[in-house]
């Protein structure tokens, strides 16, 4: 089985890109399943179901979505094996721009859209910088100039990635992506023992454990203070 991890900011077009890519894969007789990770809500599973794609969803609820992802990924892989899939896709929203659910030796794709503003590539961390493929969407509604500036910014934060433009509505570019993400000679049975490409953000403080009160008296553990420039006044 092949595995690919799709990630990207909310509403960047991940689901549309994946659906159009699956269409192209299906035509080549490749069976694909999707596991969608999100935080509080998603109805993308209905879209996949409608398209006849086996799907499971996982909501992280009160947990950090990326920690939730990595704690479940091996079970997800076994689900895909049980269904005899040729290709398992995981889709997760990058909710804090610092996230990166990518695993070493597993294809990682970041989906990001032209509308998000030209400084966005700077703001996104490992999710963009350590992706193997960067898909840029919504190119049909911004000017050619903005498209060129945007992709040059993406290139300077991740020069090694393949950048590809996809129109999620017409599917232009999705066939091309399908040839890059699936390799019939690749066979992955488990991700046990594999490593994340980059450590996930960590925090362990009283608020992680459900504290709601504000004030220094209630803060314990991994707490850091902003520098506001008035430290000398104290």
């Amino acid at each position: 089985m092949n595995i690919a991890t799709f990630s990207g900011p909310p509403s960047s077009g991940k689901t549309s890109v994946i659906l159009k890519t699956i269409e192209a894969l299906k035509q080549r007789g490749i069976s694909v399943g999707v596991v969608k990770f999100d935080c509080l809500y998603t109805d993308d599973d209905i879209l996949y179901e409608k398209a006849g794609v086996p799907v499971r969803k996982g909501l992280s609820g009160s947990l950090c979505p990326d920690h939730f992802f990595v704690s479940n990924i091996e079970e997800v892989v076994q689900w895909g094996k049980k269904l005899n899939l040729d290709f398992l896709i995981t889709e997760s929203a990058g909710l804090c721009n610092r996230c990166s659910p990518y695993i070493q030796d597993i294809k990682s794709i970041c989906v990001i859209d032209n509308l998000s503003g030209i400084n966005t590539p700077k703001k996104i961390g490992p999710m963009l910088k350590s992706a193997d493929i960067v898909v840029i969407t919504k190119g049909d509604i911004v000017s050619q100039a903005e498209r060129e500036v945007f992709s040059s910014r993406v290139n300077s934060v991740n020069p090694k990635a393949v950048t590809i433009h996809i129109n999620g509505l017409t599917g232009q570019g999705a066939y091309e992506l399908s040839t890059l993400v699936y390799d019939e000679n690749e066979e992955i049975d488990t991700v046990k023992g594999k490593k994340l490409k980059f450590p996930m953000p960590s925090a362990l403080c009283s608020y992680c454990l459900g504290e709601t009160r504000i004030g220094e008296d209630y803060q314990m553990g991994n707490v850091r203070k902003m520098k506001l420039g008035d430290e000398d006044d104290r």
């Binding site: 030209i118 000017s143 060129e148 960590s202």
Partner: protein, 339 residues
Amino acid sequence: MTDNKIISSISIKELQEKYPFIINYFSDNKLDIEGFEDETFKEYLDHFSEEDIEEWAIDTEKLMEGLLEYIEQMIEFLGIKEEKAVESLTILAGKDKSGCKERFEEITVNKGDIISIVGPTGSGKSRLLADIEWAAQNDTPTGRTILINDEIPDKKWRFSSNNKLVAQLSQNMNFVMDLTVSEFLELHAKSRMVENEDEVIKNIIEAANNLAGEKFNLDTPITSLSGGQSRALMIADTAILSSSPIVLIDEIENAGIDRKKALNLLVSSDKIVLMATHDPILALMADRRIVIKNGGIDKVIETNMEEKKILLELEEMDKTIQGMRNSLRNGEELNINIF
């Protein structure tokens, strides 16, 4: 120069002198090298503490690899100007949706040519455009092959983010940045690393104002340009500053812009122009038109003499309508004698 040397035995200052463009790499990756100019890039990265690295999600390996890749790409990118330009685009026939061979052998479009593409929605225009964009090599669903200058194209057209084969101008495009016209053009010029920035910007403004009914200036925010002005600026910018040799147009609306001049501007900037349209004026302005049916190219029609005559008539009608538009704009009353 060996890779290791760049990273670990040349000072950042020397690197900057040799490759001035790496300043963009530093700034886009939020690397503040001030005070480290005399150290090597590796020494600079080594100064980050364990805590910094975790805190700011710094991937030092990736940054080193990235810098080398970036320098390599930029050298190649800057070198392109001297390379052979794209003179022609050739499409070799593939299959339609039913698997029948397309009804042509090959179509060659030369620099300066205008080709229109017609066919109902869903007939396969997007797929044709995607085939060209991806420089298909009998490896897409249509089985078409694309040649550039009669040769199999370089892989860079597929994978490099700075060298895309095709620039697109479509009907629902908007400016989304909050910048003035001059800031916007400067940004684009910088990303393309043009040397004579001011001159290029001046040329674009002049060309755009020549296309638009209403003039605008450098301090106008791009988001407050009228529809016609926006289109004029996009077309002028694409003609003069875009890196892509092929321009794909998805209809140009009639309002507020001289479409004939727009096409002439693109063609005279050495672009190959492909235009999906059902507007008779635009379709007939092309030298040839490709008819798409059932996912395949069904016919290639040369615009004949009769059609050229029709075009002249249509242009007269268009002029009349444009004239009325201007009269209305200037507060005049319309007069039946105009016909």
